[in-house]
Each structure stands twice: as C-alpha cells, then as structure tokens.
Symmetry: C2
Subunit: 203 residues, 2 copies
C-alpha cells in the first residue's frame, strides 16, 4: 500500500480535472443494490454508429485523456468480480479503502487517505491527465460535497431499477443546480448529460 504521492506543485489554471463519467438508470441509480450493472449491456440498448462500429458514447476519447482513476473499495470489489484483467491497466489506479490489509494488486494503489484531501493535492500536480472518478456512489458523494467535481458526463439509460446505489450514494448531498448542462439524446433512448463547473475551479 502507498499513500498518495502526486507532488503539490500548485499551478492555477493548469490543474488536473476531476471528471465523473458514469451511467445511471432513469430513476437515478448507478447499479443494483448488489453493485451489478449488467443492465447496461441489455440488447435493447445496443447501438451502432454510422460506420457499423458499436457506439461507445465518447468513451475512447474520454479514456485517452485520463491519467488516474479513483474508486471506492466496494466498486473495486465489483470490478474484480467481473473476472479478467483489471480494466484500467496503464493508468494510475487509486482505490480508497478502509481495509487495513488490502489485497495485492499490481495495477492498483490502495489509499486510506480522505478522498477529498487526496484529490485536492492531485489537482495541483499538473500534466498527468484527467482524474476519472469511477465511483461508486459513496466516493461520488464525498467529492460532490467537497465541491471538487469539475465535469460530469452522466449517461442516463431508459430503465427503472426501482432500487439500487444512488449516483451520489445514500448520504445527503446539497441541492445542486447543474446550470448550463447540455444534453444529447441517442437513438436508443440513452441520454448524455455534460455539466462543467463555471467558473473553473482553482483549489
């Protein structure tokens, strides 16, 4: 385990962005109560681009600018449950955990620090790409309450889960008007919302 190590070279205007890039149901859930997200792969949502390739909702372009991924311990366990290799090999992958003895994973740094403190320091270490807030709800809520999310790309799928893990977890969040948010609808009923904080945040 390491503690976080982006060095604190604060530089206004060149901070790394903290980006939430996530998919939710129409009733606002990231996942079913057990963390499962296979509903995202339902054939009803299959969509190809004009060239016949599967629609990726801008993921490839987004992923290319990501330097670090952040997730909570519960999301890490869900990701591990997918089987196969860790999905973000080659990025700086940070998992926040309260486990004293986290598993051995060569692709991940386990961090016990407060996520908001870690992000504040990481933002001032420019030139390392965006920080992708992978989730889940609990860490999303912590970083929303801390005012640290710079950009949200939220994809809403036309399904009602009825219950599950809310986008920002179960702890209260303040009412937040996403003024200036832009929405784009796909032919399969999926909608992409983008909201960028203005004025830009300089911690």
């Amino acid at each position: 385990m390491s503690t976080s190590d982006p060095s604190p070279k604060a530089s206004k205007g060149t901070e790394r962005l903290l980006e939430l890039y996530a998919a939710i149901s129409l009733d606002g859930f990231l996942a079913r109560p057990d963390g499962s997200v296979d509903w995202l792969e339902d054939p009803a949502f299959a969509l190809n681009r004009a060239d016949g390739s599967p629609e990726d909702y801008g993921y490839a372009a987004f992923y290319a600018r990501v330097g670090s991924t952040l997730m909570g311990g519960e999301t890490y366990r869900v990701v591990q449950g997918f089987g196969g290799d860790f999905p973000y090999i080659g990025k700086d992958n940070v998992v926040f955990t309260r486990q004293a003895d986290p598993p051995d994973d060569p692709h991940v740094r386990f961090v016990q620090e407060d996520p908001a403190a870690w992000v504040r320091r990481a933002k001032s270490s420019p030139g390392q790409g965006s920080i992708w807030l992978v989730g889940g709800g609990q860490i999303n809520g912590i970083l929303l309450r801390a005012g640290l999310i710079d950009r949200m790309d939220v994809f809403v799928f036309p399904i009602l889960l009825g219950q599950g893990i809310p986008l920002f977890g179960k702890a209260p969040i303040p009412e937040t008007l996403l003024a200036g948010a832009q929405a784009t609808a796909y032919p399969n009923g999926v909608v992409h919302w983008r909201h960028e904080r203005t004025p830009p945040h300089h911690a």
Copy 2:
C-alpha cells in the same frame, strides 16, 4: 364524495390511455421532501421557442387530449398550496384519498377506491380522452406495479435535489426496461423521454 363512475363499456382497441406526464430531477425526484417543485421554474431553465413564446414541452397539446386527471391526496394538498384556482378546471379531476371527510371542492371528485381498480374500469369507458396520471410518487408506483401505465412522458431537469419524492414513490417497484423509449434534448439541458408500452395494453 362520489365513488368512480365511468361506465364499464369495454371496447378493445379504443380504451382510454393512462398517461404519466411528469418532471423529475436528474437524481430521480418528483419534488423536494415537502412536495415543492419550484425548482422547475428556475431561471436557469427558462427557454423560448423560435417564435419567442415560452417552451411548453408539449404541454398544451398533451392537456388538450386529457379527459381526466388523477392524483393522490398528498399531491392535491400541494396543488392547493399553490393558491389560485384549481389548475385543471373543466377536466374530470379525481383525487384518491383515505380521508373519510375530504374538503368541499367543486372541481374535484374524491375517491376512496383502489386506484388500480378505478383505472381498469375507467379505461374501458372510451371516448372521454386520456387519463393523466398527475402523481405523486405513491399513486404512480401503485399504477406502475399494476401494469396500467400506457405512456410515459418524463421530463428530466438538470438539477440534483439530493433527496425528495421518487418518481414512483418509496415502495419497491419491479425493474422495468423502457425498451423503445425515445429521448429528445432541449437546449436548456432538459430532456423529454417518451415510452409507450408495446404491444398496446387492452385490459
């Protein structure tokens, strides 16, 4: 108080439609915990059409085809709290309530019957326009669970309320894939989802 009285002249294919036409926040809430919905009027969401008139999200066309409105007792109290006249004068306005002694309101019929039973009977009384399921969450959930909602027009506003009244209330609803849902994005970030049940429901 009257009990319901649409006469049961069942006629397959000409049933009245039960339409949910509602606005929610991006995190899935119809209203704040106290029922307030003034966030819908936030200037950040103001939008005019090409001719300069305020965007009405298709409300005038929708309202013209409505014959009856349905709401629960809590929503009725919120609507009364707006002050002014009852907003749907001229429609057949039905309020489901468990109050033994409802208020005297010339514009409303108070009904103590189960909403699903009422709707099943009303649907088979054709020629009286659509039935607008005004809400709130509790009655929406009852009628979703009963499989009686024919069309959903859900407008999602880019705001996080953090807490409030879920679109289908707090009681569990089954996972519901809205296959074939179509989404339309407005320039102010509001999105209109329409889902029509297929094959058409004939009770």
